[in-house]
């Protein structure tokens, strides 16, 4: 941790001169120019280095009587001679923008990887706010929303009272540092209380937890508050179900409370997915906080959690708290049978998403390219392309001699069958 400065900032990266033909970047414009002269504008015949592709073209046609058709060593889509490039001059705007975009995304990716690996805060260099500083460049509106949501969430936490104090440290334990807010904030109350309070539900929950929820829920999750309000009277004997919003994040932090909430999916069919899934398109716009949140857990939350969550929602009873699970199942079947299944679908879909995202961070640190998906043009491991082609009807060939040899063998086989008879016939000759 002694290093203060880990690498160049985005601005420094963007300012680096780079070569139009091969997208390589350089420390210095001089080096770029000498690179271009050596790599792209060098005459193959006499080794003379020209300043531009056009110059080389003229040189080739005048000196060697040859037509230059393409720029050497260039990327396939940059071989054209129509663009006159010298150093950084002459770059087409679209190409320049694409390059900058690419550098920015690469930088962010590297940053995210580093975060995932080290668990360090996003600030890239010594200067503050690596990520917040550069994100605006790409997508300002969404980022603003995100930050607003985070802010709201923080305020909600503050309102939630003392519990928020506990929330932050646990959240900080995960790779995503400060901004874990709302779900963690919710979840924090239960893990502390839940294991103990699992069996004697009504009192602790009704007393301590309920009020903060109604308050906190209204700004962030408007839909929650009415629902929980309805829920409490109906399911009075099983208060936990009323606190359904908690369990999902709670699943991340601790197992025990989870099974008790297996009952929860039905009452809040729409809300459930939002905390788990980052990319559900159906997410209402009124929940901007959700958009900010899931991104972080995607790195921190291992795929296991998604599965656990799925299990919880599927209503699989988990040993420690069989009784509550039993209640839960009873509830689901009575209240909303169909909805629960659709919720399961949603959640399992979300779990899949999460699982798909899961392995990514683990691969990324190894090598950047490995995170890329790979598609092989030919991937059969046992049959070579030639053998496959040979199987095509139009290339089919049956050697003539197979017929004769087959015929030669067949009588033999037939003879085997008739040998006994022939033996008897032949015997006398012996």
């Amino acid at each position: 941790m002694g290093k203060k400065r880990r690498g160049p900032t985005l601005d420094e990266l963007l300012a680096r001169p780079w070569c139009y033909y091969c997208e390589r970047d350089f420390d210095d414009l001089k080096i770029l120019i000498s690179h271009q002269k050596a790599k792209h504008f060098k005459c193959e015949r006499c080794g003379r280095r020209l300043n531009t592709a056009g110059g080389l073209s003229v040189h080739m046609s005048q000196v060697h009587k040859e037509q230059l058709t393409e720029v050497d060593n260039a990327l396939p889509n940059r071989v054209g001679l129509d663009v006159e490039i010298f150093g950084m001059e002459g770059l087409p705007d679209d190409v320049l923008q694409a390059h900058q975009q690419r550098v920015a995304t690469q930088f962010q990716q590297a940053e995210a990887e580093r975060q995932a690996v080290t668990g360090n805060p996003p600030s890239g260099g010594g200067s503050g706010g690596g990520q917040p500083a550069k994100k605006p460049k790409l997508e300002q509106p969404s980022d603003l929303k995100k930050r607003l949501a985070e802010h709201k969430a923080k305020r909600a936490e503050m309102l939630a009272g003392g519990s928020s104090g506990e929330a932050t440290p646990v959240g900080a334990g995960q790779p995503a540092p400060t901004p874990t807010p709302t779900p963690a904030g919710y979840s924090q109350t239960p893990p502390a209380a839940a294991p103990a309070s699992q069996y004697p539900y009504p009192q602790p929950y009704g007393g301590a937890a309920a009020p903060p929820f109604q308050q906190t829920a209204s700004p962030g999750y408007q839909a929650f508050s009415p629902a929980s309000g309805k829920q409490t009277p109906v399911a009075a004997p099983y208060p936990p179900s009323g606190y359904s919003p908690q369990p999902f994040p709670a699943g991340v932090s601790g197992q025990p409370p989870a099974p008790g909430y297996g009952a929860t999916p039905p009452p809040f069919p729409q809300q459930q997915p939002t905390p788990t899934d980052a990319n559900l398109p159906s997410r209402p716009g009124s929940l901007p906080s959700a958009s900010g949140l899931p991104q972080r857990p995607a790195f921190g939350a291992p795929p296991v959690n998604a599965q656990q969550m799925q299990q919880m929602h599927m209503g699989h009873p988990i040993p420690p708290t069989p009784t509550t699970a039993g209640h839960a199942n009873g509830d689901t079947s009575k209240e909303t049978g169909q909805v629960s299944s659709s919720v399961d679908d949603l959640i399992s879909g979300a779990a899949k998403d999460a699982a798909a995202k899961g392995p990514e961070p683990s691969e990324k640190p190894a090598k950047k390219e490995k995170s890329k998906l790979m598609r092989m043009i030919f991937s059969d491991e046992t049959t070579s392309p030639e053998e496959k082609m040979a199987q095509l009807p139009r290339y089919a060939f049956v050697p003539d001699r197979t017929a004769p040899t087959a015929l030669g063998e067949l009588p033999g086989a037939v003879v085997v069958g008739t040998i006994r008879e022939s033996d008897t016939v032949v015997d006398p000759t012996h």
Binding site: K42, C43, E44, R45, G47, L56, M60, E66, Q67, L68, T69, E70, V71, D72, N73, P76, V79, E369, K372, L373, M374, R375, M376, I377, F378, S379, D380, E381, T382, S384, P385, E386, E387, K388, M389, A390, L392, Y395, F397, P399, R401
Partner: protein, 360 residues
Amino acid sequence: MSSNQFTVASPPADAISALKFSPDPNSARIAVSSWDKNVYLYDLRDENGIVGEGKLLQKFEHRAPVLDVCFGKTENEIYTAGLDWDVRKIDVNTSTQTVLSSHEAGVRNVVYSLEHNLIISGSWDSTLHVHRPDAGANPDSLPTIVPLPSKPFSLSLTATKLVVAMASRALHIYDLKALALLSAQADETAAGGNRVEVEPWQRRESSLKFMTRSVACMPDDAGYASSSIEGRVAVEWFDPSPESQARKYAFKCHRQTSEDNVDVVYPVNALAFHPVHGTFASGGGDGVVALWDGITKRRIRQYQKYPSSIAAVAFSGTGRHLAIAISPGFEDGKDDVPEGIVKIFVRELGETEAKGKGAK
């Protein structure tokens, strides 16, 4: 930058399976085998012996698609191998074809060793046939059959060694001297169908994780390069000492990133070493030919993309020319070979075009 490149007139009608330059430095002949059941012989020289655009000299029809071809002792001697299970010798002057031996399945490769005067063919029946064309007294001498653990996919020779790349990523290196000796003995002892278990000089597993596509030996007899269907080339050395083995390496090539950021990986169909500089060319399913310096581990150059998959590449005996055969490639999930262009390009290389650069 365009070095002089031209296309050879009257190319085969169907996909090209192999293309070889005559190893004779004085010759400029190219033999091409094709799935259209013909072997084509081109000569880049005109009547006055001046190397030019090249023309088709002769065409030899076979019974089935021809999978490989190679030159023999002279530029007038050609050996072919094909789907009709036969290994043939073609005398160009008389246009006569002689069947040297028949395998039990399609014959994928045939190579000729000038030093040991051997013709070695590799077939999908998992055998090598070793022929001795000058069996002398016994012109009907049968080939020695060397069983292999897997189907051979590619053969390559040096002056002293034979490298056989097989399915299941197996790789055998045979000592040609031993092979010649054994086959001579087998010829004397056994009258017919002489199967000889030959212990390879070295058994290796491919350094690449996927099916070996091609193998080519360094002209200085030091090692070989192999390529796989998964856009990768490995370079390794014969010398079994740990120091030499530590030098082996592999690198990715012939890949493209598509718009949705998926790495499209093409098979590396062809490898060929430059006879003088010791650099090598690779040809991939992406239609790209690249020149590499295997010693300094650097790419020398990459040529502009060709319109079809690269089926074969070959350097001429002098190293002045690089012939490139393009054909549509066989892809995953396809029942048939896609329509595509079949062409033969010949590049006249600049003096230093294929020469390695100094180390970094």
